[in-house]
């Protein structure tokens, strides 16, 4: 899952808590995480948030907003 950038499970009937897996650097490339419209419960996955390295890295992901990098696509 090192290169996974987009994870969308929206509008399904998934349920149960999202456990904080003790795996370091899980989804380090993820930039879109959409699990809306399900029946997930429990606490927000605090531990997982810390693993989304790409979402932390402004220079890598956002780039200089005034340059042509802005239009770069996946």
């Amino acid at each position: 899952m090192q290169d996974l950038k987009v994870l969308v499970f929206r509008d399904n009937k998934l349920h149960g808590p999202i456990v904080n897996l003790k795996i370091e650097h899980l989804f380090p490339s993820l930039i879109i995480f959409d699990i809306s419209g399900n029946n997930f419960s429990g606490f927000l996955p605090k531990g997982c948030l810390k693993n989304y390295e790409a979402m932390k890295n402004v220079t890598q992901v956002v780039g200089d907003r005034s340059t042509p990098q802005d239009t770069q696509i996946l």
Binding site: V6, F33, S36, F40, S41, A54, N57, G63, Q72
Partner: protein
């Protein structure tokens, strides 16, 4: 791929590399919003609406300087709105409606651009843009950045103070 951003559903044929977003809306998540959310500095969209979240809005959301859309509506969040949120200069859509937030809505900067819709359904909120006026003892939440205001910030603070004085003066004249 279909995504929802800034309250609108849209279909992306290609995904811009800068499109960094988390959408946990319309689930049954409970508990507090983790402070760690403030570490995801590249986020431009954050939607935690329609859950069962409790506790305060973390000040750390004020660190998400690229955020363009923040929707944490329809939860049971309590406490005051952190003044740090006014620093989110790219924030275009803010939805804090239908929670249990209280106190004076932070004023100025980006918050000048939001309407009633952003705050409605919080019976304890007061101040513009809501018509509910604040009692004299209801203050804005303290901002940890206040000591670091630059010249423009000081000027803005001064303008706000002058504005408040005028408002009070008008109140006195009217009554």
């Amino acid at each position: 791929m279909t995504v929802t951003t800034k309250g609108n559903e849209m279909t992306l044929v290609k995904i811009p590399i800068k499109f960094v977003s988390i959408d946990f809306s319309r689930n049954k998540f409970e508990g507090e919003i983790p402070n760690a959310i403030g570490e995801l500095h590249a986020l431009i969209g954050l939607n935690l609406s329609h859950n069962r979240l409790t506790g305060h809005i973390p000040q750390s959301i004020g660190n998400l300087t690229y955020l363009e859309s923040l929707d944490i509506s329809s939860n049971t969040l309590t406490g005051m709105i952190p003044a740090e949120l006014t620093n989110l200069n790219f924030l275009e859509v803010l939805n804090l409606s239908n929670n249990h937030l209280v106190g004076k809505i932070p004023q100025g900067k980006q918050f000048s651009t939001f309407s009633n819709d952003s705050f409605e359904g919080n019976l304890g909120l007061c101040g513009l843009p809501l018509s509910m006026k604040c009692e004299p003892d209801q203050h804005s939440p303290p901002s940890s950045n206040k000591r670091n205001l630059d010249l423009d910030g000081n000027q803005w603070q001064l303008d706000m103070d002058v504005g408040l004085c005028l408002e009070y003066a008008l109140d006195i004249i009217c009554f």
